[in-house]
């Protein structure tokens, strides 16, 4: 089980260590401003991706170092060797894959379309055509909304996006079901509703993003996630932060 898996991932070869930004540490970039993925609670950085990062680091036998910053800075920083890996709810796209490498997925995200509960027209993905949707710049949601013909208004902050919907300044937002559920845990949402889009939109795989110059580390991270999946850690984390298991492909 667990101990075994740990041994496997650590292995004998330590070549990957030369690929680390900081000796003996796994430097992890994330935004830190998106609950429940990563956020601040009682003065400490926490969240699903934070705990995941700690577990991955443990598996490969180094110390985790978290570096919260802005979206653009995550991309720019990976390029200029500021982080080893980015855990920030990122999907692999062909365009992105050209520039960066992706390790094994840890979440399969289901899209939902969130709107006001009195909103009549928005029932399917096709119905967003010509509507105003709020999405974070650089997110996959943004791309989907654009692809289906919505007018996209940029805003990265989830509660603010919901505020825009409530104030009737935009019609809806496409986001992950998990984000909405996490919000609903501590906030009233009776004025909002969501439509599950998983029938029309296949769940997308959320993957760690790494530099192409660190293939050995990539293998290590993938191996670590595999083990965490097998030993049930992923499921446990998912239940803790999302209230359900969203780490499985279906």
């Amino acid at each position: 089980g667990c101990a075994n898996g740990g041994k496997n991932a650590t292995g004998k070869d330590t070549n990957y260590k030369s690929e680390l930004v900081k000796r003996g540490s796994l430097t992890i970039g994330l935004e830190g401003t998106f609950a429940p993925y990563s956020y601040r609670d009682n003065g400490k950085l926490t969240g699903f991706e934070v705990e995941l990062g700690q577990d991955i680091a443990k598996k490969i036998g180094v110390k985790p170092v978290f570096v919260p910053t802005k979206w653009d800075s995550l991309i720019a920083g990976l390029g200029s060797g500021r982080y080893d890996v980015i855990l920030n709810n990122i999907n692999k796209t062909p365009q992105r894959a050209k520039v960066y490498a992706f390790a094994d997925p840890y979440i399969y995200s289901r899209y939902v379309l969130i709107s006001r509960s009195d909103e009549k027209g928005l029932k399917t993905l096709a119905s967003i055509k010509g509507k105003k949707l709020v999405e974070g710049t650089g997110t996959d949601n943004f791309n989907v909304a654009t692809k289906y013909g919505a007018t996209v208004v940029p805003n990265g902050d989830f509660p603010t996006a919901l505020g825009l919907i409530r104030q009737d300044r935009v019609a809806a937002t496409i986001n992950s079901r998990e984000a909405f559920l996490a919000y609903a845990k501590s906030n009233p949402t009776s004025d909002l509703k969501y439509v599950d889009l998983s029938k029309t939109l296949a769940p997308t795989a959320v993957q760690p993003m790494l530099n192409k110059q660190s293939p050995k580390l990539l293998a290590k991270v993938s191996a670590a996630i595999k083990e965490l999946r097998q030993d049930g850690t992923l499921t446990k984390l998912s239940e803790k932060y999302f209230g359900s298991d969203i780490t499985k492909a279906n």
Binding site: W71, I75, G79, T137, V153, P154, N155, L164
Partner: protein, 229 residues
């Protein structure tokens, strides 16, 4: 290189659609607000005017000491919660462009009011006296004698404020306006080259700001046919 050039139309489109109009309109309105604020703050009237002066003092203080981003947020996201029975029962809900113009104007107005106020105070007392002795009212003296001179000396600091404003419009993205900087970030999100996009955007800002400094130089030149006594 052609790689870079392909993005220029989108960037310039955003610059001409949002960045420049927001900067120019806000600056013009800001100057008007600044002028009114400066005049109220130097007024020597008593009575109810003291309350008005205190209000304007507070306005300048709050807009100078808090971050512009927060101001934008509160005007755009906060005002809808401000429900005033009779006037705005559903809260004050501005479209992004209006909210942006309003906030940038108020911010610029606060800063520039200090510039203009200082320039008015620096006009020698003798100019006021010369106007009075001709029989001008305070209003005539201000309009015809004091302000033209004060505006001339405030050209350089006002130009500085304008240049800052141009760059600050990038914050408009936070209230959902897709201006120059936001567009560059959207492109960077796709091509994963933020550094390149940022440099390109910096260049566009630099060109626009440099044009402004040339205009400043021209204004300084045409208004400096005379030197202040």
């Amino acid at each position: 290189m052609q790689n870079v050039l392909q993005y220029l139309p989108q960037l310039l489109g955003a610059a001409f659609k949002y960045t420049i109009p927001i900067a120019v309109i806000s600056f013009v309105i800001g100057i008007v607000i600044a002028l009114i604020t400066a005049l109220i703050r130097i007024s020597n009237k008593r009575g109810v005017m003291l309350v008005v002066k205190a209000i304007f003092r507070f306005y300048v203080w709050i807009f100078r000491t808090t971050p512009l981003l927060v101001q934008l947020f509160i005007v755009y996201f906060g005002l809808p919660y401000l429900k005033i029975a009779g006037i705005a029962p559903d809260g004050i809900k501005l479209v992004p462009f209006t909210a942006g113009i309003l906030t940038f104007s108020l911010n610029t107005g606060a800063y520039c009011s200090e510039t203009i106020r200082a320039a008015i105070i620096a006009i020698p007392k003798g100019q006021w006296e010369a106007a009075s002795t001709l029989g001008m009212t305070r209003r005539q003296a201000l309009q015809r004698i004091i302000l033209p001179q004060a505006l001339r000396t405030s050209v350089p600091p006002l130009a500085n404020s304008f240049i800052s404003l141009v760059k600050d419009t990038s914050l408009a993205a936070s209230i959902t306006i897709i201006e120059l900087f936001e567009v560059s970030q959207q492109i960077a999100a796709a091509n994963f080259q933020p550094l390149l996009m940022y440099s390109l955007v910096a260049l566009i800002y630099a060109v626009f700001c440099t044009v402004l400094t040339f205009i400043q130089g021209y204004l300084e030149k045409i208004t400096s046919r005379y030197t202040i006594a």
